[in-house]
């Protein structure tokens, strides 16, 4: 049994929003300032972008660091890695189950 060190619900619910998925996708390519991310989402307010970042931060999907007068957002590979492991765990579980059933049926 896998121990879930991350809060999966908060990870998946924070990824349920398209804007947040886009923010995460951008910062996983390279760290960016809150201002840069706001510029990339001109259809919504700076405050709304900041709020989305906070949600991602609460889910530990991104890390916020202050560099001088900028707040730099970067992806947290540890959480992403653990979430990906959960998916792999699901697949391994079904592989094992179906293999066992296959043996019994044939």
């Amino acid at each position: 049994m896998v121990e879930y060190a991350i809060n999966l619900d908060s990870v998946f619910s924070s990824l349920a929003d398209a804007t947040r998925r886009d923010i995460l996708s951008r910062v996983s390519q390279h760290p960016q300032s809150v201002g840069e991310l706001a510029d990339a989402h001109k259809s919504i307010s700076f405050a709304a972008v900041a709020k989305h970042i906070t949600v991602l931060e609460d889910a530990q999907l991104v890390i916020k660091k202050r560099e001088g007068r900028y707040q730099i957002i970067s992806a947290n590979p540890k959480t992403m890695h653990q979430a990906a492991q959960v998916l792999q765990h699901y697949q391994a579980l079904w592989d094992a189950r179906f293999d066992a059933l296959d043996k019994l049926l044939t």
Partner: protein, 158 residues
């Protein structure tokens, strides 16, 4: 025989498909009889031990997953709809020792479909996660180079 996995775009569903060389009635029986489920549900090295089984709409399956080191996990399936030998839907989750549902562990809704395909039976399991719209994103992002590099760096650190 290989299991085929699909994550639905813009949906919180994971699909597992597998074909078995057996008649549909037999596969159905292995899926819906406690003594038979206990033989394969595992999964290795775990062993599923049924505590209570009532296969009907509104019924349940309570079982314990026993680990090789004496660890035990209480699991619960609540059956919702049943079309004999064709399909059933159920809630799947972890339970406390009093069989109340553990809300801090992942749970999902299942639709299991059995289709005759010549002398084979195709089993399709559709897992709908409570809040997993991000499943797809995670898989997509895993393929992105930047992210992979991040993971490589992480692996090196661990």
């Amino acid at each position: 025989m290989k299991t085929n996995y699909t994550v639905l775009e813009d949906a919180n569903q994971l699909i597992a498909e597998r074909s078995f060389k057996a008649p549909r009635s037999k596969v159905w029986k292995y899926y819906t009889t406690a003594e038979l489920l206990d033989k394969w549900w595992g999964p290795e090295p775990y062993k599923a031990v049924t505590k209570s089984f009532d296969f009907r709409e509104g019924g349940h399956w309570h079982y314990v997953m026993q680990g090789p080191e004496g660890d035990a996990h209480f699991c619960i399936n609540n059956y919702k709809t049943i079309n004999p030998e064709e399909s059933f839907t159920a809630f799947d989750g972890f339970a406390n020792e009093d069989w109340s549902i553990k809300t801090d562990m992942p749970s999902s809704d299942w639709e299991v479909t059995f289709t005759e395909n010549g002398d084979m039976t195709d089993v399709k399991v559709v897992l709908t996660c409570a809040s997993a719209e991000g499943l797809n994103t995670l898989i997509e992002m895993g393929m992105k180079e930047g992210f992979n590099q991040g993971l490589d760096q992480l692996e090196a650190l661990l």
